[in-house]
């Protein structure tokens, strides 16, 4: 985005040239700007006239890198696009390539993928709850959330060998099978999480200060969401029941019984509620997947060695923790993708900020931006 102030809001009073307006930079090195986002705020008094997100401080050219290496070599990049739900991105990329190459994935691998992805989604949402409460000043819930998240990371660590940037998926399956210890651990975790959610409810959701800070703050209505392509919990908090897992089921998601939670208010509180209920839904999915996990191989019997798709293009989208993550793969028939376009949810969600932030008080900025759950590397991919 440009360095010049843009008239982001259509409001005639939103005039950054107002004599009393001044510019406040929030970020890139700000204690609570997630990652290195820079918000250039044109303010009058405490009120934001024009908010201008300036991005690019963590740019790593993932899309360009994809054009310079073969399909397999891009695999480790995928979970680094969004390091907080890296598993979903990693598996999603595998699924996109599988769609292009028409590779069949064994049943067991499908189930393992679902378990891993949903655990990862819970971890991501837990982290969001923690950081959001931290953003509005509560430190302790943050650590409780990280404690729970740690359990998930331990579980995933046991099967993938890494805790954050999993290169777990392979074209056609996953790298490593799950064992009984993992399944037992997962069941234990499901129980633990069910007992923890009421605690969050008491400590955070019912807290009057939390409610006061979140209710009616940062309202994103349906129109705004539609205009900016907002997806994920932010969209569902505005009352639109759009979830890629339901609307365009991929993998084996159509086999599970889960709901798409929605709220209508579209404010920070609604986004919190949606995420908490999504954790519950994910817990349900994991429970079912663990119950139904079939025996069998985790890779095709004869895995392909060369990944050389025919000329053509395909689009594949998954529901990441932050919204719809789409990959548009263009193949020119060689081993190297001609173009990989990533549609990342945080980017679209953040782009609504100039509109949402204009006219709010600076005190709410952090809460609103925090409630989006942005991950900067994903925006700057």
């Amino acid at each position: 985005m440009s360095d010049e102030p843009r008239g982001a809001s259509s409001d005639p009073e939103a005039d950054p040239t107002h004599p009393e307006a001044y510019v406040l930079n929030m970020g890139p090195q700000h204690p609570s700007m997630h990652g290195v986002l820079r918000l250039k705020l044109h303010m009058i008094g405490e009120e934001i006239v024009v908010a201008e997100p300036v991005i690019g401080y963590a740019h790593r050219a993932h899309e360009k890198m994809a054009e310079n290496r073969n399909y397999l070599m891009f695999l480790p990049n995928s979970s680094r696009i969004d390091y907080l739900s890296g598993m979903i991105y990693n598996i999603g990329y595998c699924q996109a390539v599988e769609k292009l190459l028409e590779i069949e994935v064994p049943e067991r691998a499908q189930y393992i993928r679902v378990i891993a992805c949903e655990l990862n989604r819970i971890a991501s949402h837990l982290l969001w709850i923690g950081t959001y409460v931290l953003d509005i000043g509560g430190v302790t819930p943050f650590l409780y959330c990280w404690d729970d998240r740690e359990q998930i990371l331990d579980l995933l660590d046991a099967i993938t060998g890494s805790r954050l940037t999993y290169s777990y998926g392979r074209f056609g399956g996953v790298t490593m099978d799950v064992d009984d210890a993992f399944l037992t651990g997962t069941r234990t975790f499901l129980e633990r999480m069910k007992s923890r959610l009421p605690e969050y409810d008491t400590l955070v959701r019912k807290n009057v200060i939390f409610i006061e800070r979140s209710r009616g703050v940062g309202i994103m209505d349906r129109q705004t969401c539609r205009a900016y392509g907002v997806t994920g919990p932010c969209l569902r908090a505005a009352g639109v029941a759009y979830d890629v897992r339901k609307s365009e089921p991929y993998g084996i998601y159509d086999r599970f019984d889960f709901a798409v939670p929605t709220e209508s208010a579209g404010d920070c509180l609604a986004r919190y509620d949606v995420r908490i209920r999504e954790i519950e839904e994910s817990l349900k999915i994991v429970t079912q997947a663990v119950r139904d996990l079939p025996a069998g191989p985790i890779m095709p019997d004869k895995p392909k060695k060369k990944f050389k798709p025919a000329e053509g293009a395909s689009y594949f989208a998954v529901e990441a923790a932050r919204g719809a993550f789409g990959m548009y793969l263009v193949s020119d028939g060689s081993e190297v993708p001609f173009k990989l376009k990533l549609r990342t949810p945080s980017f679209s969600n953040l782009s609504s900020m100039p509109k949402v932030l204009a006219g709010t008080m600076v005190a709410d900025t952090i809460a609103i931006v925090g409630s989006l759950d942005i991950v900067l590397p994903e925006i700057d991919r």
């Binding site: 930079n25 008094g45 405490e46 705004t224 505005a238 949402v356 709010t360």
Partner: protein, 130 residues
């Protein structure tokens, strides 16, 4: 020595000690100055404009109300100390005083001073939530 004079000495000695505490590390500490060491902190970006700018008027209204209020309630200190022997008349006077004081709050409340309102309609104004 008078207790109040002592208090003054405490202030002076505190000032001296504080000065020593600040000056001492100035002499002891390392000194290394780079190009941006002495920049004003604004999240790693060069500051645009001076920080000495205008702020929201709401703060200022609070300051004014505070000044008036503080005078009021500080008057109550001697009165409170002398309340015991003052009889029902004392109660009436304090009550009148406090009621008048409350009127100020009531007025400010009715005028919406304590509601920190944003000048424009907040957030998305693209239409009603369909």
């Amino acid at each position: 020595m008078n207790g109040y004079a002592q208090l003054a000495c405490y202030l002076v000695l505190g000032l001296v000690l504080g000065g020593v505490i600040v000056v001492l590390p100035q002499l002891l500490s390392p000194r290394s100055i780079g190009r941006t060491t002495e920049n004003t902190y604004e999240c790693g970006i060069d500051t645009v404009g001076s920080a000495w700018m205008r702020f929201s008027i709401t703060y200022y209204v609070f300051a004014l109300i505070f000044v008036a209020f503080e005078v009021d309630i500080l008057y109550l200190f001697p009165v409170a100390v002398a309340y015991e022997p003052s009889g029902w008349r004392g109660l009436a006077e304090i009550a009148a005083f406090l009621v008048i004081l409350s009127l100020a709050i009531l007025y400010a409340w009715r005028k919406g001073v304590f509601v920190w309102k944003s000048h424009r309609a907040p957030q998305s104004s693209s239409g009603p939530n369909a």
